[in-house]
């Protein structure tokens, strides 16, 4: 009988299966095989390479390798003027370009001390929440595709098309919008657009319960995601995991409530938090359910923002945009916003010239990914797919 050598697995999240493997009760070990879950892989949501070392099906170590989509955002941001950086922030997390624009513009407005009118703030919140719904639709669609359900993918992408039609009418772009500028917006609301927004909200109301019936309460789905890839709250804090992932772990932390910006404090919505109904707190199912509930909350915000805009006198949305960016205040500022994937922060250094001296983008997917080597040991290979899908990474802002 081969002598059971103790597996030097770093202590992953404790779980009934996991204890067994650690206690070395596993009778016979195969040799470790090194598998590349490489850059071209249907379930890595882009170009992420995870080098997995497995013993049979059980993952021993998993090291993510990123950088395959490193598009030098910070170098580009040092060589273009302030307003020209906005289209590049679109391409950071290309599923939620409106929220990236909002993050960048608010950071620069804080540095320059620009105040925007209340109407512009309301339009920004409306557009950002619409984009949150679109982003969560893509995230849930790709996730259900990874788990193996083809119908929710088509349904969710179809509902997302409605949001993209709204954006197309608002600012001409579908995916990358360049809409929220520093100090204002690129276009005002076309008339008749708010009516469409109200129609969209009515259209979208029954969709989430429908998705729940179709997928969320499906026994196979719950069995597949319950108790899998648990990221407890303290690991989230230590590794800087933010957004739906930390809310899935039960921490009620959302920048729109804790550090309100752009008028978010005036809307009433609540923060969905993981309930641990399918296993433990912070497992893949919790993170999934948090995103589904967030779509419902975003609909509430959109409804309130749209009704406010209905009876708000129209004003020039480009009033507060500075005429020239040649002379700008010097200084350094860090500003963070609640982007659908997590906490998007911009550290901006300005030396008074028309181009930023240094821009550091604290991207949510970058930090959400670095938790993988700690969480992955002990998972089966199929659960690794569930882990990557549930932390919802996009390599555009992972690699910047």
């Amino acid at each position: 009988m081969t002598q059971v050598h103790d597996l030097d697995i770093p202590l992953g999240p404790s779980r009934e299966k996991m204890d067994l493997v650690l206690a070395g009760v596993e009778d016979v070990h195969g040799e470790r095989m090194r598998i590349q879950m490489g850059p071209q892989h249907p379930a890595t949501h882009g170009v992420l390479r995870v080098e997995i070392e497995t013993d049979g099906e059980m993952i021993i170590t998993a090291t993510p390798h990123i950088g395959y989509l490193h598009r030098c955002f910070e170098k580009v941001a040092e060589n273009v003027t302030w307003p020209q950086v906005v289209p590049f922030t679109d391409r950071l997390d290309y599923c939620s370009s409106m929220n990236n624009n909002l993050g960048w513009s608010l950071a620069v407005e804080k540095l320059f001390g620009i105040e925007v009118s209340e109407r512009v703030q309301t339009i920004r919140v409306l557009a950002a929440e619409l984009n949150r719904i679109a982003n969560h639709c893509v995230a849930l669609a790709a996730y259900s595709l990874d788990i193996g359900a083809w119908t929710p993918f088509l349904l969710l992408i179809q509902e997302r098309e409605h949001v993209l039609d709204l954006f197309e009418e608002l600012c001409g772009g579908r995916l990358l919008l360049n809409y929220i500028w520093i100090g204002g917006l690129s276009h005002d609301i076309p008339d008749g657009w708010l009516v469409k927004v109200h129609e969209f909200v009515e259209f979208m109301q029954p969709k989430m319960p429908e998705l729940n019936q179709l997928l969320s309460f499906n026994k196979i789905f719950i069995e597949r995601l319950g108790n899998v890839a648990v990221i407890p709250a303290d690991v989230c804090l230590q590794y800087g995991v933010t957004g739906p992932n930390i809310r899935g772990a039960g921490v009620k932390w959302d920048l729109r409530k804790n550090e309100p910006y752009s008028g978010y404090e005036t809307y009433d919505f609540d923060i969905p938090v993981g309930t641990g109904e399918a296993g433990q707190f912070g497992d893949a199912y919790d993170r999934y359910m948090v995103r589904v509930k967030e779509i419902v909350q975003s609909l509430r915000i959109i409804e309130q923002a749209a009704t406010r805009l209905d009876n708000m006198p129209g004003d020039d949305v480009q009033a507060a945009i500075p005429k020239t960016f040649a002379k700008v205040p010097k200084g350094e500022v860090y500003f963070r916003t609640e982007q659908p994937k997590g906490e998007l922060g911009f550290y901006i250094v300005s030396n008074g010239k028309s181009k930023p001296y240094r821009v550091k983008c604290r991207a949510p997917s970058f930090s959400n990914l670095c938790v993988m080597p700690k969480v992955a040991p002990g998972l089966l290979i199929a659960d690794m797919v569930a882990l990557i899908g549930s932390i919802d990474i996009v390599l555009g802002d992972g690699d910047r």
Binding site: G38, P39, Q40, H41, P42, G46, V47, G67, Y68, L69, H70, R71, C72, K75, V76, N79, V80, P87, F88, D90, R91, Y94, C95, V138, A141, A142, F153, L154, I157, Q158, R160, E161, L164, R174, L175, L176, L395, G396
Partner: protein, 162 residues
């Protein structure tokens, strides 16, 4: 192709065989799901039900062994270029390349300051169809596929010099 390629002059048999093979190939282009960046999301939206690439016989395949078209959608970076070249080599003949989006065409917005970005994938592999746009609209992607169809319809297995 195979043993009968470039063997015969352009006679009646060869031209009708051409028509049959080209028709069969162009009506079932299986792309390699190869989302690099933002264009990948537009590619997903085009594969979904509203723009529905399935009606053209286009069904994404995850492995290069079963793919006919390498649809490079997104920004090709230096670190990724080696892998893309290997995938391109590993695809079975006859294979085609569609460069989707201005990043793949010429480096796109990262043309000037992107030190890590390959300025256009035609620097490292032959490209059949370029689709402009950043990201190109789904209709533009469909137009790219149809243009590739016409390209395939003009192929022939007759001897080149004849």
């Amino acid at each position: 192709m195979g043993n009968i390629e470039g063997r015969f002059g352009p006679n009646i048999l060869v031209t009708s065989a051409d028509k049959l093979f080209n028709w069969a190939r162009s009506r079932s282009l299986w792309p390699l799901t190869f989302g690099l960046a933002c264009c990948a999301i537009e590619m997903m939206a085009t594969n979904a039900s509203r723009f529905d690439l399935d009606r053209f016989g286009i069904f994404p395949r995850p492995t290069p062994r079963q793919a006919d078209v390498l649809l490079v959608s997104g920004t090709l970076t230096a670190k990724m270029a080696e892998r893309v070249l290997r995938l391109y080599e590993q695809m079975a003949e006859p294979k085609y390349v569609i460069s989707m989006g201005s990043c793949a065409n010429s480096g796109g917005p990262y043309w000037e300051h992107g030190y890590h970005v390959v300025k256009g994938i035609d620097q490292i592999m032959p490209v059949d169809v370029y689709i402009p746009g950043c990201p190109p609209r789904p209709e533009a992607l469909i137009d790219g596929y149809l243009r590739l169809r016409e390209l395939i319809m003009r192929e022939t297995i007759a001897r080149k010099d004849a």
